[in-house]
């Protein structure tokens, strides 16, 4: 049976529709329509979110900036406050898909899709962004690291929706960098991507750091040792190398058209080293 299309006009209505486990939310459709056409999903109902008010708002909050789930990836690239305060996120967003995809895909849909090769998740994890998930009777903000659970698997449960991404205000002395390594075609997913958020004091000592890799595991891969190896120091090449080795060791890449597992592991180390070195020099 072909699914029905529901067009709720309030969040409560949408969440009510989604209590049916056979219903799926529809935002930009760039991922969902492919799954539908290939018969990989067979929902009874598509709950179209376009008419929900306020989900496409970007607004400052006490702790930073809130980006509504229905904000398009394209808008994220260009929104002045995002470019100013979160340039790495804007830059990562500009690499997603192609222009048509970016104009349709939403940030909520993007994170809910949770393909381990995507660009935004590692950046959100490194930034320690929060992802707001709402149900009919609940609202919680899930730290990005805990949100992405596996390929196409997130913390969103039946009857829930991602409603916003909460970006923490940048700290003084804080900087975020993202690099995607895609040695074949520019249009491909990255072979490996590296996202780093680092804060240094005026003397150049690292006071906080988070390092997340993309494309080397079934979800963004946090390099847990980075903090222990870098915080409290003015890192030199040996410290950076130690972090790079830890990054390589901690990833679980699979071999595919973009490279073998050993190659991806080696590249995780190389690009961790390069991104950290560049960040520390800059």
């Amino acid at each position: 049976m072909a699914p029905e299309l529901a067009t709720p006009s309030s969040l409560a209505e949408a969440l009510d529709e989604l209590r049916d486990e056979e219903a799926l939310p529809l935002a930009g459709g760039t991922a969902l329509v492919i799954l539908l056409r290939n018969r990989l999903i067979a929902p009874s109902r598509l709950v179209w979110l376009q008419r929900l008010p306020d989900l496409d708002v970007i607004r400052p909050t006490a702790g930073g900036v809130s980006v509504g789930a229905m904000v398009t990836v394209d808008r994220l690239c260009h929104e002045p406050i995002v470019r100013r305060d979160f340039p790495a996120l804007a830059s990562a967003a500009s690499r997603v898909g192609n222009l048509r995809v970016r104009c349709a895909a939403t940030v909520g849909g993007h994170v809910a899709h949770a393909d381990p090769r995507q660009d935004l998740p590692p950046v959100l994890v490194a930034m320690d962004a929060g992802i707001r998930v709402q149900g009919l009777r609940s609202t919680r903000v899930v730290p990005a690291a805990g949100f992405f659970r596996g390929p196409m698997e997130t913390a969103v449960e039946a009857g829930e929706l991602v409603t916003s991404i909460e970006l923490p205000a940048p700290s003084p002395g804080g900087v975020v960098a993202y690099h995607r390594f895609n040695p074949g075609s520019e249009e491909d997913y990255p072979t490996v991507s590296v996202a780093v958020a680092m804060t240094r004091d005026p003397e150049g000592r690292v006071t906080a750091v988070r390092l997340a890799l993309g494309g080397v595991a079934d979800r963004p891969s946090v390099v847990a040792d980075a903090e222990g190896l870098l915080v409290g120091r003015r890192p030199g090449p040996d410290d950076v190398r130690a972090v790079a080795d830890a990054a390589a060791e901690g990833c679980e890449p699979s071999s595919d058209g973009r490279g073998s597992a050993p190659y991806k592991r080696a590249m995780a180390a190389v690009w961790t080293r390069r991104v950290l070195t560049s960040l520390l020099a800059g």
Partner: protein, 148 residues
């Protein structure tokens, strides 16, 4: 369900199933300037403008287009004769199958960046594949139309 929209400035109305694609709906209405290519949003053959936004019609459900204004390559061509002239002058096609999509995406690029650099053009047109030309003339045509 009944969907009402305008296509290339003319009102259109049709009954669709929720999972009908805008690509198929438009072609069923006779708008043959939209082509089916890869089916996964990569090649750009199916590009249209929906309320001025570039859209891959192979990934857009017609049911979500009620009340919108769609422009196909034919509509874009009427709106931007200079762009069409630039494509002709610069020989920016061979077999022509990708050309309608190239025109639509080029107009979207020029709408957001009226005097783009070559790098910008190549960046923003990267989702418009061509197997025939090697892209030089397409890029040159868009730069010429943008006056750069």
């Amino acid at each position: 369900m009944r969907v009402r929209l305008t296509v290339d400035g003319e009102p259109a109305e049709l009954d669709v199933a929720p999972t009908d694609l805008l690509l198929d709906s438009l072609r069923s209405l006779g708008f043959s300037a939209i082509k089916e290519g890869c089916g996964v949003g990569v090649c750009g053959l199916c590009s249209v403008l929906v309320d001025e936004q570039p859209v891959g019609s192979c990934l857009r459900l017609t049911a979500t287009c009620d009340g919108t204004a769609v422009l196909t390559a034919a509509g874009v061509a009427r709106r931007h004769p200079a762009l069409v002239a630039a494509f002709c002058d610069h020989e920016a096609f061979q077999c022509g199958i990708c050309t309608p999509g190239q025109l639509v995406m080029a107009s979207a690029v020029l709408a957001r960046s009226p005097r783009p650099t070559e790098e910008e053009v190549r960046d923003l047109m990267a989702g418009s594949l061509c197997r025939c030309t090697g892209y030089r003339t397409i890029v040159e045509a868009i730069l010429a139309a943008g006056g750069t």
